[in-house]
Amino acid sequence: MITKLNHVSVFVLDQDSAFDFYVNKLGFKVHTDAPMGPGKRWLTVCPPEQPDLEIVLMPIYAGMMFSEETAAQMKDLVSKGTFGFAVFECHDLLATYEELKSKGVVFKKPPTKEFYGFEALMVDDSGNWFSLGEKK
């Protein structure tokens, strides 16, 4: 019986820039930041109130996972905003939207009342987009 999700990957174009976005702008906590050899790093962050869900900020490079060609295609797709990976939750969407916007976070949709709820769409520094909703 599966009981929990504990790791999920987000492919990013640059781990240093992703660190700045997720930690300094979104306020996520660093869970593990381990150097794994020249130019390689295992970096995971957690939403502030969810310390047991590690979001792996996974760089895209040619190696065992991707060929040169696939890595280039992945980078292209990520930067084009092809991927929407997850739904984040906050206590108050308007307040969170105003704060993140003041920190330079890009939104492709401002807070909007939809039939399924109150939602905004934000974009990370690589081009991945996320839904942001509120739960009061």
């Binding site: 050899g37 295992w42 502030p48 996974m58 065992m64 996972m65 308007l94 307040a95 105003e98």
Partner: protein, 147 residues
């Protein structure tokens, strides 16, 4: 039209929250923040709590404790951490830290330092095997064959 004043109020509340984020180490007078946001104290507290699920005072405490955790992870002495996050007395800081986190600042620091040493010593213990294999960090990986 109806949204405009609401957004205006939100911006004031967000500014107050960011003010706390940036000045948590000083002695912050929450009455002054309410004044700067052009609200009465009680109206301000009610709006702040509605946005962040915490009163401004509770939020200030949580920011200080979170910052203290970050500084303790950097191996700073507890007394220095206490000063840097805006507490005047080590005993009140330590008591509050333990009440909120369930562990004393020094025990938290030992636990974190031990974990960080372990991450440096055996990083693969902290990386799910499938990810380690797909990055080529495990010798004799069978990732390609398995996929």
């Amino acid at each position: 039209m109806e949204e405009f004043p609401r957004i205006y109020l939100y911006r004031r509340i967000v500014q107050a929250k960011i003010f706390i984020d940036e000045h948590f180490s000083s002695s912050i007078d929450l009455d002054n923040i309410a004044g700067e946001a052009y609200f009465s104290k009680y109206h301000f507290i009610r709006l702040f709590k509605s946005a962040y699920n915490k009163t401004p005072h509770q939020y200030l405490i949580s920011v200080r404790i979170e910052k203290a955790k970050d500084l303790l992870k950097q191996n700073l002495p507890v007394i220095e951490v206490c000063e840097q996050v805006g507490f005047e007395s080590v005993s009140s800081f330590s008591g509050l830290f333990k009440r909120i986190t369930g562990i004393s600042p020094s025990a938290f620091q030992q636990q974190e330092l031990k974990m960080r040493q372990e991450i440096r010593r055996v990083p693969l213990k902290f990386i799910p095997n499938c990810f380690a294999e797909s990055n080529g960090w495990i010798k004799n990986s069978n990732f390609e064959e398995a996929s």
